[in-house]
C-alpha cells in the first residue's frame, strides 16, 4: 500500500517551527503556504497547531487548531504509521493529488518519532481519494467535529478504489514507507495570493464618457456645418 505515496512538499511549502510542545501531546506549529486537506476540512494557507488529544485510551487522535489555539478546526482519528528511521524534523506525507486540488495530508510525524499519525478520512472522501490515488485509503465513521471520546472506539478499515472495504492489515504493506528527505525551507510567511489587490475598475465609465463626448462633438460639428452652409 502507498507505494506511490506522494512525496513530501510537492508544491506545498511546509514550515515547521521548533516544537514548543512536550513529548506527550506532540504539539507542533505548522505553516502551510498553500491550502491542504485534512479529513473533512480544507485548511487555507496559514499557521496551524497539530497536537494529540489528551486521551489515555487512544494516542492516535490528532487535533488541529489555529495558531492561537482558540479555535479547533478538526479532531482526526489516526492509526500508527511506522518509519524505519526517525526524521529529525517534523515530517508530513501527502497523498498524490491533481495539481488543481489541495494536497491531502496522509500522515504526520513528530520529530524523532518512529511512529507517526496516519489520518483516517470520512468514507465518501476516502473513496474519492482512493480512486484518485489508486490505493486503499483508511476510513471510518468519522467527522471532524467529533470529540476524542467519540473517536476512541471507532473501527478503522481501508477502502479500495473499487469501493471495497478491507482490513487495515490487508491494505498496509509489511514494508514501511521509504525514508524521505525532509528539508526545512527558509522561514516565510504564507504568501499573499496576489501581488496587488484585484483591479476592480471596469473601462465602462471611460467608454461611456468617450461615447457621450463623441456624440457631443458630432452635434457640434453638425451645428457648425448647418450654420455656415
Amino acid at each position: 500500500m502507498f507505494k506511490k505515496l506522494a512525496v513530501l512538499l510537492t508544491g506545498v511549502l511546509v514550515l515547521s517551527l521548533p516544537t514548543f510542545g512536550d513529548e506527550w501531546n506532540k504539539k507542533t506549529l505548522l505553516t502551510f503556504s498553500q491550502p491542504v486537506e485534512i479529513p473533512g476540512v480544507i485548511l487555507p494557507a496559514g499557521q496551524y497547531v497539530f497536537k494529540l488529544a489528551d486521551s489515555n485510551a487512544n494516542r492516535h487522535i490528532v487535533q488541529v487548531f489555529n495558531a492561537d489555539q482558540d479555535q479547533i478546526f478538526a479532531t482526526i482519528l489516526a492509526i500508527p504509521h511506522y518509519r524505519m528511521q526517525p526524521a529529525d524534523k517534523t515530517l508530513i506525507l501527502f497523498d498524490e493529488r491533481r495539481a488543481d486540488q489541495p494536497q491531502a495530508i496522509h500522515a504526520w510525524f513528530y520529530p524523532g518519532a518512529l511512529y507517526g499519525q496516519e489520518f483516517v478520512y470520512p468514507r465518501s472522501r476516502a473513496l474519492e481519494l482512493a480512486r484518485e490515488t489508486h490505493q486503499p485509503v483508511l476510513t471510518g465513521d468519522v467527522t471532524p467535529t467529533e470529540t476524542p471520546t467519540e473517536l476512541e472506539k471507532t473501527p478503522v478499515v481501508a477502502v479500495t478504489p473499487e469501493n471495497k472495504e478491507v482490513e487495515v492489515a490487508e491494505a498496509i504493506e509489511t514494508a514501511p514507507a521509504a525514508p524521505t528527505q525532509w528539508t526545512v525551507p527558509a522561514p516565510a510567511v504564507a504568501p499573499a495570493p496576489e501581488k496587488e489587490l484585484p483591479e476592480t475598475a471596469s473601462p465602462l465609465p471611460f467608454i461611456a464618457l468617450l461615447g457621450v463626448s463623441s456624440l457631443g462633438l458630432a452635434w457640434l460639428l453638425k451645428t457648425i456645418r448647418s450654420h455656415n452652409s
Binding site: 480544507i42 496559514g46 475598475a201
Partner: protein, 215 residues
C-alpha cells in the same frame, strides 16, 4: 462666443460632414457597448440567480451545517474557475450579487469574483471577494459598521458583520492575509466615481457571526 467659419471649398465642407458622421457613429458604438455590457451582466446575474435558487432548493440538507469546519463536500473541491460560487447580499443596501470563482476580467464583468488563494466561505480564514465599483459594488460606498453581509453558498450561508472599512493602496495586499478567525474581505476600486484605473482600493472587512438557514 460666436464661431465663424469661412468655407473656401466644398472639400472642407465634406471633411466636416465626414467628421460629424464619424463621431456620431463612434459615440453610438461606445454607448452601445456600455449598454450591452450592462445588459449582458444583468442577464448573467438573473440567469445565475435563477439557477442558484433551484440548486439551493435541490441541495441535500446535510450540506448546510452550523459547524465552523467545512463539510466534506468542500466548495474548494467543487468549484472551478469561472463557476458560480454563491451570492453575496447586504440587505440594508439592497445589494445582491452573484459570485463566481476567480477574478479574471471576464469574470468581473459578469459578477463579483472570489479571489484565488483566499479561503472559501465554508473554510476558516479570510474570504476575499472582488467586484467592480461601477457595476456590482457601487453601493458599498454606503456600507457602515454593523451591516450584515450574507454569503449564500451550497455549502452553507455564513453571515458576517462589518467591522471596518478602509481605503488602501493596490499594493496593500495584507488585507487578504490569512486570518485565524473567519472573516470576509470585500475589495473594490476607489474613488467610486472615477474614470480610468482607480488609484486606490476600498476594503470592507466583516467577521463571521453565524450561519443563516443552517437549521
Amino acid at each position: 462666443m460666436k464661431v465663424t467659419v469661412h468655407w473656401s471649398s466644398s472639400r472642407k465642407h465634406r471633411i466636416f460632414r465626414y467628421a460629424h458622421i464619424t463621431f456620431a457613429i463612434l459615440g453610438c458604438v461606445a454607448l452601445g457597448a456600455c449598454a450591452f455590457a450592462y445588459f449582458n451582466a444583468g442577464v448573467f446575474q438573473a440567469y445565475e440567480r435563477w439557477h442558484f435558487e433551484k440548486a439551493l432548493l435541490a441541495r441535500p440538507r446535510g450540506l448546510a451545517g452550523p459547524s465552523p469546519v467545512a463539510p466534506v463536500q468542500s466548495l474548494r473541491l467543487a468549484v472551478k474557475e469561472g463557476v458560480l460560487l454563491g451570492r453575496i447580499e447586504v440587505p440594508r443596501l439592497a445589494l445582491s450579487v452573484m459570485v463566481t470563482e476567480g477574478i479574471k476580467p471576464r469574470n468581473l464583468r459578469l459578477a463579483a469574483g472570489h479571489i484565488p488563494g483566499t479561503a472559501f466561505p465554508d473554510e476558516p480564514g479570510n474570504v476575499g471577494i472582488a467586484g467592480h465599483r461601477d457595476m456590482f459594488f457601487r453601493r458599498l460606498r454606503e456600507i457602515r459598521q454593523g451591516d450584515i453581509i450574507t454569503f449564500t453558498t451550497l455549502a452553507g450561508s455564513p453571515e458576517y458583520s462589518v467591522e471596518w472599512t478602509r481605503v488602501v493602496k493596490p499594493k496593500d495586499i495584507d488585507v487578504l492575509d490569512v486570518s485565524s478567525q473567519p472573516v470576509l474581505t470585500l475589495v473594490t476600486c476607489y474613488p467610486f466615481y472615477y474614470v480610468g484605473p482607480a488609484p486606490e482600493r476600498f476594503i470592507v472587512r466583516a467577521r463571521l457571526i453565524g450561519r443563516a438557514g443552517s437549521s
